[in-house]
């Protein structure tokens, strides 16, 4: 049989198959170390597209200690609509010590409870990875990106084959260096933004539509 015909038939079957099994919406998880601005980003996306918020933002690490899901967020870019579920996850850390919370004026009991919940939060965040279709990995541009947490998460997301966008957040701060993040993870798309100030946020939406749409 003609090889060209077989190839075109194969391509047609593949597109029909894709059409049948195409997900109508993507589940996107927002990941990163504590205090990278995950909730600020989640709130920014929700404020922009739903007028809502997902959780409280704080300078105290591990403010988000349970994963939070918001379904059916519609993002419109250049006439195309991307519908996503957003999961804001607790910050991933290798060490959690209640002493770190004491300086924020918490009682020892409260700090210990926070540490325990934060630890449970890390486990919950990691478990969510099994149920996601894409990841927004938020990093603080003012910090060294070469951390065990960042490198391990990127490696694992690559191994899972999940689409990944790295967000270089906090570019509004004077010592921010998104280039350092790009240099650390050159194989991935890095989008520099300020979730707090809304800087370059349109580029993020466009890149999300390309990557996850």
């Amino acid at each position: 049989m003609n090889m060209g015909l077989i190839t075109s038939l194969k391509a047609r079957f593949r597109s029909i198959f894709k059409w049948f099994f195409k997900k109508d919406k993507m589940r996107i998880g927002i990941y990163g170390p504590p205090n990278a601005g995950k909730t600020t980003l989640a709130n920014r996306i929700l404020r922009d597209w739903t007028g809502d918020v997902i959780g409280s933002e704080s300078e105290i690490p591990h403010e988000t200690r349970r994963a939070k899901l918001r379904e059916g967020v519609k993002i419109e870019v250049d006439g195309k609509t991307l519908t996503i579920d957003i999961i804001d996850t607790p910050g991933i850390a290798t060490k959690i010590d209640f002493h770190d919370f004491l300086k924020y004026g918490m009682s020892e009991e409260e700090a210990k409870r926070r540490a325990k919940e934060a630890t449970e939060g890390v486990i919950e965040a990691i478990k969510w990875l099994d149920d996601l279709d894409g990841i927004l990995l938020v990093m603080d541009s003012t910090e060294d990106p070469y951390t065990q947490v960042n490198v391990t998460i990127v490696g694992n997301i690559e191994a899972r084959g999940l689409p990944l966008l790295i967000i270089a957040n906090k570019i509004d701060l004077p010592n921010a260096s998104p280039a350092r993040i790009k240099a650390a993870f050159p194989q991935h798309v890095v989008v520099p933004i300020s979730a707090l100030k809304g800087l370059n946020i349109d580029t993020l939406y466009r890149t999300m539509a390309e990557k996850f749409g």
Partner: protein
């Protein structure tokens, strides 16, 4: 670490005056013990071979083994350093993904 008295076995650190003046026991011969190169490798190896995903150092102080957690499967909790472990059965038995 590495200067051991050949008589009584007492060890002196590098640069200790006792190495020049002699050991407490009166002996002035010491055996130099080279640094164990294997030790660091062992420590790293041990870290990778740790079975627990969470180590509770003290109440409110936790050490998380992110690699282990990301590998999936069960959550094993090590209680301080005394060799006690707790296995979180629901995570071990979880077969189906969250829908």
């Amino acid at each position: 670490m590495p200067h051991r008295c050949t008589e009584c076995g007492k060890e002196y650190m590098d640069g200790d005056m006792a190495i020049l003046q002699g050991c407490e026991c009166g002996n002035n011969k010491f055996l130099y013990i080279p640094k164990q190169k294997g030790r660091e490798v062992e420590e790293i190896k041990e870290q990778f071979e740790r079975i627990e995903s969470v180590r509770i150092i003290a109440p409110g102080m936790y050490e998380l083994n992110i690699e282990k957690l990301l590998e999936g499967g069960e959550v094993v909790i090590a209680l301080q350093e005394d060799g006690k472990y707790a296995v979180h059965l629901p995570s071990l038995l979880r077969k189906k993904k969250r829908s």
